[in-house]
């Protein structure tokens, strides 16, 4: 029996081919920039708003509504005067506004949905000269977009600036410059199923007691639905971290965040750690790692949990579920401060490499800053408008929006500085570990050490 014997070069080539394939694989996976899967709050919001999205905090599997949901990198539509990129959920909403702007200016506008990781797709495409004129995203993107030279400051007039709510304006201001036109604010609140438990508990302790009573009475099976997951969720934990006196970054004299002051191992943060342990799996078993972005909202809408900590993106599902609900601020711990959720803002940014800067500025500065436009945007996507007048109108008819806004009263602005990307991972993991039974002090100190090291390196 004669067999073909591979010669040495053949073997070497084959080995090289396998290795090369792995390298190109590695290259592929690294081509998508921001992984911060467990982290990015904006993506948390995005995925939470689509009920069926399986991969919780990873925004990658947004529904297939988008035309460009293929794995190929998105490229700007070459045939129109103004190109806007947004995520898959918002694209159909913006389409109408873009159309009306296009009609009144005699131009063509195209709104392109980018289903996968819009931020890094935008940064990469803009660097290659294939980006859009305008991109829509959360304000925690600003630091990264600016350091990559992909967005330009927007010269808003003093009147235009004054028309926005103060938090919204702060959220789009970075290094003293306004980089975006805000259109909606979002923050966490407590949503109560009023058939199962009393609404607006004054303290976290009261809420837990009410929840446990509901469980005892057989009305529910969980006292509280607060998403943590195995990797932790620093965004959803922030209200409680703030209540116990902890903070992520200290502030400079001008009120902006200072990446050199990390407060993850501050006394307040350790007090928060102690509370986590108390209510964690080895304690009261109210905070659980098994509650994650995939099941948090459905636990509430199915009546299994009387309380849900979530944002306006959950509102649509909650309303559809047909339960009686009330929205109130996330309660703080008894004897400690009020809860301090992150207040984030969705905003429009003009590309630094825009092909149609004049039109893009016209659209963002003079069209999106109109009251009727912001109100119309609210109608299709119920979040608190950033424009004060629009908010006042809307909150009169929609108490939920007013309730979410009230929940932000003690909120802190979601940091825009790039150093924040060094925080999400380690802080979340530390929180999940404490909930699982790890020592709170060690876990918080370890997280702080890692965050500081990462920031020093950057």
């Amino acid at each position: 029996m004669v067999r073909h014997r591979p010669s040495l070069p053949t073997v070497a080539t084959a080995a090289l081919a396998v290795a090369a394939a792995t390298l190109s694989l590695a290259g592929c996976s690294s081509s998508s920039s921001k992984p911060s899967a467990a982290s990015n709050p904006s993506s948390t919001g995005a995925s939470a708003s689509s009920a069926a999205t399986p991969s919780g905090s990873d925004s990658s599997s947004a529904p297939a509504a988008a035309s460009s949901s293929s794995s190929a990198a998105p490229v700007r539509d070459p045939n129109t005067d103004l190109v806007i990129w947004t995520d898959a959920q918002r694209a159909p909403v913006l389409q109408d506004f873009a159309k009306s702007f296009a009609a009144s200016n005699g131009i063509s506008v195209s709104v392109q949905a980018v289903a996968n990781d819009l931020q890094s797709a935008y940064v990469t495409a803009t660097a290659a000269g294939k980006g859009p004129d305008i991109v829509v995203g959360a304000t925690d993107w600003i630091g990264n977009l600016v350091q990559n030279g992909t967005i330009s400051p927007l010269p808003l007039t003093a009147d235009q600036k004054g028309a926005f709510q103060a938090t919204a304006l702060t959220a789009v201001t970075y290094n003293g410059q306004v980089y975006g036109v805000p259109y909606a604010t979002e923050n966490l609140a407590l949503i109560t199923n009023t058939a199962e438990a009393p609404a607006s508990p004054a303290t976290f302790e009261d809420m837990v007691k009410n929840g446990q009573d509901a469980v005892k009475a057989g009305k529910a099976s969980e006292a509280l639905s607060l998403q943590i997951s195995q990797q932790g969720d620093a965004y959803t934990m922030q209200p409680l971290l703030g209540s116990a006196g902890g903070f992520i970054f200290g502030t400079k004299a001008d009120g902006t965040y200072d990446p050199s002051q990390v407060g993850v191992d501050s006394a307040g943060a350790k007090a928060f750690g102690a509370q986590l342990a108390k209510y964690g799996e080895k304690g009261a078993n109210v905070l659980k790692r098994s509650i994650d972005p995939n099941n948090a909202v459905s636990l509430f809408t199915s009546g299994k949990a009387p309380y849900l900590v979530s944002g306006p993106w959950a509102l649509e599902q909650v309303r559809k579920a047909g339960i009686k609900y009330a929205i109130s601020p996330v309660p703080g711990f008894a004897g400690q401060g009020p809860a301090k959720p992150f207040v984030g803002v969705q905003a429009f940014y003009v590309s630094a490499k825009a092909k149609n800067t004049a039109l893009a500025q016209e659209f963002t500065l003079n069209y999106l800053t109109r009251k009727d436009v912001e109100e119309a945007l609210y109608k299709v996507d119920p979040r608190a408008p950033a424009l004060t007048e629009a908010y006042n109108d809307v909150s009169k008819t929609d108490p939920d929006i007013a309730a979410f806004q009230a929940a932000a009263a003690h909120g802190v602005v979601l940091p825009q500085i790039p150093a924040m990307s060094a925080v999400w991972g380690p802080l979340g993991i530390a929180e999940a570990a404490i909930v699982g039974g790890a020592d709170p002090n060690t876990a918080m100190s370890d997280a702080a050490t890692q965050i500081k090291a990462a920031i020093a390196k950057g």
């Binding site: 067999r3 014997r5 073997v11 084959a14 080995a15 396998v18 290795a19 090369a20 394939a21 792995t22 390298l23 190109s24 694989l25 590695a26 290259g27 996976s29 690294s30 920039s33 921001k34 911060s36 899967a37 399986p54 991969s55 200016n105 005699g106 890094s120 940064v123 990264n144 600016v146 990559n148 330009s152 400051p153 010269p155 290094n175 003293g176 659980k288 790692r289 098994s290 509650i291 636990l299 800067t357 004049a358 039109l359 500025q361 003079n366 790039p418 150093a419 990307s421 060094a422 991972g425 993991i429 999940a432 570990a433 699982g436 370890d446 890692q450 990462a454 920031i455 390196k457 950057g458």
Partner: protein
């Protein structure tokens, strides 16, 4: 004779070369447009080589080799070279631009509107009707006074020469000038963006289509000294390793940096950085164990099932086989996510079904087991398929002979069946090992590397090298392509060595069985 030569050309070749030429005709002008001369050179060279090889009657061997070689260059050699090249730079978030782009962007980002200055209503006009010529601004201030602005400065325009919009005051027509429409203004593009009318202590720039503002830079670049000065605070920033750092030692750095070569720094970081070096060998050990166990379990189960199904007396073989192939038919991405939800401690199917309270993805060993179990489920149908095919190839007469000689079924399996199967399957097992060595999807979708031991958010208990690299490179300060390329290159060498050894072993095995 040329005509004879043409006559000998088969038409598929002619069509192919025609298509290649057509592709070149389409791409080359676009590349010229973008001044991508390397691209033009490559396009011309590839077209020329393909045309020569396929039209020449002599290059028959090359006709088969050239396409493969070109694809190898494009899809293997180029990415590898590019990755290695990137490994020697600091390319990543904050260091994506070139130096000159970064300088320009820092200045552009520093423009502030002059405090107290009023906005102008803006009209843009050209001398002739042609919008591509040079243009000027006609600016109406808050009092309704009109001025003409060009690169030299402002000149007053008498009211008699213009007509204005009664409400806004925007200039509609001017004697001797042609006022542009909004679309035309937008069409000026880059020229409008860089156009500024100098004033006493700043400049006038357009904003939108019909407004202009007085702005000033707060960052001044000194091209000779390579420094950037903040005019508001007086801080001087000096160039240092692709960043502008404050010269006063306060550690302040301007947000925008640029890409520079860093030599072996990224490779050095692997050795010197405690966060990387510390857990490296733990992760490597688990990666090897994960890859090896994944191959072993999938192959074991696949082979076992194939042998069982191979039994001629088994009824309904087709149905069983189809059912067994089901996991292979489902998209792995979806099934992994389904597995992830089944592992949920409180709400997952597994614990509900068995009435247990196992924290499948929360404990170190439980999570490792869960990852292997899911990977087994995903991988065994492939091995089953391959083994079924190979079992058919075992010569029946050899088995008969062995049986006649009195060999037990087990002995027949070990000495006759297995060698044949192994020779066929060995290269696949090596490839499968290489694949699982970098099986990012299963890890990322199931555990994201977790659970994490106390004090380490960089390396979890189920992290394999590639998921660990991914978090290192993109988890901290945004994307760090330079560092990730360096680690990818190291993994590349590692997998290359393992594969090489593996293939050498196969060769030895084949030599043994060939005798």
């Amino acid at each position: 004779m040329p005509s004879e030569r043409l006559a000998r050309l088969s038409w598929p070749r002619v069509v192919f070369v025609g298509l290649v030429a057509a592709f070149a005709v389409v791409t080359i002008p676009a590349l010229v447009d973008r001044h991508s001369w390397t691209g033009v050179a490559i396009a011309v060279a590839v077209t020329a080589i393909l045309a020569y090889v396929y039209l020449s009657p002599r290059r028959i061997a090359a006709r088969f080799l050239v396409p493969g070689t070109l694809l190898l260059l494009a899809f293997q050699v180029f990415p590898v070279a590019y990755t290695i090249n990137t490994a020697f730079t600091d390319y990543g978030d904050g260091h994506r631009l070139s130096r000159s782009e970064a300088v320009a962007q820092i200045q552009a980002d520093s423009v502030v509107e002059q405090p107290g200055a009023k906005r102008y209503e803006l009209s843009v006009a050209t001398k002739g009707a042609d919008a591509s010529g040079s243009f000027v601004f006609f600016l109406t201030d808050a009092d309704g006074k009109v001025q003409r602005g060009d690169t030299a400065g402002l000149t007053p325009v008498p009211d008699a020469e213009v007509t204005k919009d009664p409400i806004t005051g925007k200039v509609i027509t001017v004697q001797g000038w042609h006022v542009l429409t909004g679309i035309q203004v937008n069409g000026l593009g880059e020229r409008l963006k860089s156009f500024a009318v100098p004033t006493k202590d700043g400049f006038i720039k357009s904003v939108g289509l019909s407004q202009a503002y007085v702005g000033q830079f707060t960052m001044k670049y000194d091209a000779a000294a390579h420094t950037m000065t903040d005019t508001q605070t007086g801080t001087v920033y000096k160039e240092s390793d692709g960043d502008f750092k404050a010269a006063d030692g306060s550690g302040k750095t301007l947000p925008i940096g640029w890409k520079v070569g860093v030599g072996l720094k990224n490779f050095g970081a692997v050795v010197t950085d405690g966060a990387i070096r510390g857990p490296f060998f733990r992760v490597l050990a688990w990666t090897l164990a994960f890859a090896f166990l994944s191959v072993a379990t999938t192959f074991g189960l696949g082979l076992l099932l194939a042998v069982v199904m191979d039994h001629p007396k088994l009824r309904g073989r087709r149905i069983y086989s189809s059912l067994l192939l089901l996991p292979y038919a489902l998209p792995a991405f979806i099934s992994t996510l389904v597995w992830q939800s089944m592992y949920n401690k409180d709400f997952g199917l597994l614990n509900k079904l068995f009435g247990t309270h196992v924290d499948w993805l929360g404990g170190a060993w439980a999570a490792r087991g869960s990852v292997l179990l899911t990977n087994l489920w995903l991988g065994f149908p492939y091995m089953f398929l391959v083994c079924s095919g190979l079992l058919q190839a075992v010569p029946q007469e050899l088995k008969e002979v062995a049986r006649v000689d009195g060999a037990s079924p087990l002995r027949v399996f070990r000495s006759v069946t297995m060698p044949t199967v192994l020779i066929g399957v060995m290269p696949l097992l090596i490839a499968s090992f290489g694949y699982n060595f970098n099986n990012f999807n299963v890890i990322q979708l199931l555990t994201k590397g977790g659970p994490y031991p106390s004090g380490s958010a960089t390396a979890g208990q189920t992290d394999i090298l590639i998921s660990y690299t991914y978090r290192l490179a993109f988890g901290a300060q945004g994307a760090q392509y330079g560092l990730s390329s360096a680690i990818s290159f190291l993994i590349f060498i590692l997998v290359g060595l393992i594969s090489y050894t593996g293939f050498r072993q196969t060769r030895a095995l084949e030599e043994v069985y060939a005798r």
